[in-house]
């Protein structure tokens, strides 16, 4: 039973060994840094997504929030469209904006009693719509080289984005382990009725958790803008799939109550190592998707003792 908790790590280690056999370069320090760098933005995103999924909900607004906050970030630092020059202050503003959208997600879900699936999908579209309409389809390009150092700069040869992702993981872990919010999330995910009866403020917790996920998405949006040097409506395409996959592959159950942010750390690494490894091993492009799909199913089936789940939906 305890062994199963280490299944995602075992999958990650096996995957690394397999790739290393075919491509010795995989184990080089420079490649490790590249993998960490590629993992930085997904890592920040899954920290928020894990809490939402632990609660038994889902947040599909990831791409919308990331693109909108990337556009906000790019428009607040020196750029080719506005005269703003806030520098690093753009980051907390993007996080606040993300948190506000997250709160709207939560409020729509809780107050209007719309399933989180639909509520977040709708809000996500609204965000994509705003970032497209605001720019008329064109990107905002960042001119502030200094600002781009939040991802491009290096300390001890490791890109700053990696440190930011690490900080996000630590913050998320503390929230999970040391706060009432963390305990409530597990209580709601395990059994909402019981949680309610034992005095957990279910509605407030749900809204707070969506707001928290929004803050992480906002941070990811700022990082994406800094990494690619621009903000536009399509900057986040593909992020939602990576995020949800990483959480689930890491061993957090979509049904809620089971899992941890640390599981998701491993999940992100599995997904990123896989993408990196397929290119290194020279797997033909049309086979890659198939391999990816199979490995995801294997990882998920190993990570959870499915016999313990009463319902699978």
């Amino acid at each position: 039973m305890k062994l199963r908790a280490f299944a995602p790590i075992a999958v990650l280690v096996l995957l690394c060994l397999m790739i290393a056999v075919f491509s010795p370069n995989f184990l080089s320090v420079s490649n490790a840094i590249r993998i960490l760098n590629a993992a930085a933005i997904p890592m920040v995103l899954v920290m928020g997504a894990t809490f939402v999924i632990l609660m038994g909900s889902i947040d599909l607004s990831v791409e919308g929030v990331v693109s909108l906050t990337a556009v906000v970030t790019a428009s607040l630092v020196q750029n080719n469209l506005t005269s703003a020059d806030l520098g690093y202050w753009a980051v907390p503003i993007a996080m606040l904006a993300g948190g506000a959208i997250g709160a709207v997600n939560g409020a729509t879900h809780v107050l209007m009693r719309i399933p989180s699936f639909m509520a977040t999908l709708g809000i996500g579209f609204v965000c994509l719509g705003i970032s497209t309409a605001a720019l008329g389809g064109f990107p905002v390009r960042i001119a502030d080289r200094e600002f781009r150092n939040i991802t491009l700069g290096r300390t001890f040869d490791i890109p700053h984005g990696v440190y930011i992702a690490l900080a996000a993981v630590i913050v998320a872990y503390i929230i999970q382990q040391r706060t009432r919010l963390g305990r409530w999330v597990y209580a709601i995910g395990t059994d909402e009725t019981t949680a309610r009866q034992s005095g957990v403020p279910v509605e407030r917790t749900r809204i707070l958790v969506f707001a928290l996920a929004g803050i992480f998405s906002g941070l990811a949006g700022a990082l994406a803008a800094a990494q690619l040097g621009q903000g536009h409506g399509l900057i986040a395409s593909g992020r939602l799939f990576t995020t949800v996959t990483a959480v689930v592959v890491g061993g957090t159950a979509l049904s809620g109550g089971v899992g941890s942010v640390l599981n998701s750390v491993v999940g992100v690494l599995i997904v990123v190592v896989l993408t990196n490894g397929m290119v290194l091993m020279g797997v033909p492009p049309f086979v890659q998707q198939g391999v990816q799909g199979l490995l995801i199913i294997v990882a998920v089936s190993l990570a959870l003792d499915r016999r313990l789940l009463s319902v699978v939906k």
């Binding site: 590629a38 709708g122 809000i123 609204v126 719509g129 395409s237 290119v279």
Partner: protein, 348 residues
């Protein structure tokens, strides 16, 4: 009850925000209506395409509408059907069909209602304007193979004529992705063994995906990479940013296709070796101008030769050497000189 109303209002608001670009023309308009239809306004190419159409409509003083398919063929067709019936067929549509087969349905609907259509990029090979006179005015495109070959030669030259290149492709099933890949392969073959394609990976036109693949390539091939080819500028910029992350932007030449602003400034900064600038301002405006001329009887399109019905526009190769001239060029063109920028009949 009120919760349900609030819910509906929220959905309605969401829909208006995402798709609400088309200003409805009033049904009483007796004027010819001009319309542009394409996938989305979230990319610079299509945003400029729509702007080109708007400028012509403004010059002609006619009502103008923008239809957006959002990548959904059903929605695209339904919007066009609604527009044709609303205007009683008194409409010119310049459409970039979401998928090739859509073009046939659009042409048939237009023909039945007496409307006029110009298509861009996508249509079935056996669907020809001259088989549907005068409803199907023309089809415009850009030569994917030819321009891709040109830009690949620019890359090879920037590499000093030899070495390994890595190539980022578009979505594997897209016609432009296939053509651009072919053009690249032809140029490499003509270099006669001096240039080698180290690896080809589709990054689905996506910046972030290109970034990740480029990172992996740096591990796999390292300094053997002498050049980076990308089937569009978004992916070229993604690869360039992966190089920048390693402090190598500008050391390895990168080329893309499309001529986006980001690519242009990378060329000016000496970080990209070139791109191909399409002319969406021209396809947007000229497509409608041609269509309007036929609809108002100024031009008898049935009498025009085939090379005036299916033709390529001009793709301009932009490099650090000519970017200053390119930026200073006069972007205006004569709406009545329909084929001035045509570079020949489309070859299948």
């Amino acid at each position: 009850m009120s919760a349900i109303i609030a819910q509906r209002a929220a959905i309605a608001a969401a829909l208006t925000l995402t798709i609400g670009f088309a200003a409805p023309a009033s049904a009483q308009d007796k004027d010819l209506t001009l319309a542009i239809s394409m996938r989305s306004l979230s990319n610079p190419y299509h945003a400029t395409f729509a702007e080109g159409g708007r400028k012509f409509a403004e010059a002609a003083g006619l009502p103008f509408e923008i239809l957006v398919t959002e990548g959904n063929s059903e929605k695209g067709l339904a919007d066009i059907r609604a527009l044709i019936s609303r205007t009683g067929g008194n409409v010119c549509i310049n459409v970039d069909p979401n998928d090739s087969p859509d073009a046939r349905t659009i042409v048939e609907e237009a023909e039945a209602a007496g409307a006029h259509v110009v298509t861009q990029w996508n249509k079935p090979e056996d669907l020809h304007p001259w088989d549907h006179n005068p409803a199907y005015v023309a089809h415009m495109s850009f030569s994917g193979i030819g321009t891709s070959k040109e830009i690949t030669n620019v890359l090879i030259e920037a590499m000093g004529g030899e070495g390994g290149i890595v190539a980022l492709g578009g979505i594997l099933s897209n016609v432009p992705a296939i053509e651009r890949k072919q053009g690249m392969e032809q140029a490499v073959a003509e270099a006669g063994g001096a240039v080698e394609i180290l690896d080809f990976q589709p990054a689905d036109w996506n910046e972030t995906k290109a970034f990740e693949i480029m990172q992996a390539w740096l591990t796999r091939y390292g300094d053997d990479i002498k050049g980076v080819w990308a089937a569009n500028d978004s992916m070229a910029v993604g690869a360039l940013e992966a190089l920048r992350q390693e402090g190598r932007a500008g050391e390895v030449p990168v080329v893309g296709i499309d001529g986006t602003d980001a690519a242009m400034s990378a060329i000016e900064a000496g970080e990209m070796a070139g791109t191909v600038a399409w002319d969406p301002m021209w396809t947007g405006g000229m497509g409608l101008s041609l269509c309007e001329a036929v609809a108002t009887g100024k031009l008898d399109i049935a009498a025009e030769p085939e090379e005036h019905r299916e033709f390529y526009g001009t793709g301009i190769v932009v490099t650090p050497g000519n970017i200053a001239d390119f930026k200073n060029r006069d972007p205006s063109f004569d709406y009545n000189d329909y084929w001035a920028k045509s570079t020949g009949q489309i070859q299948y």
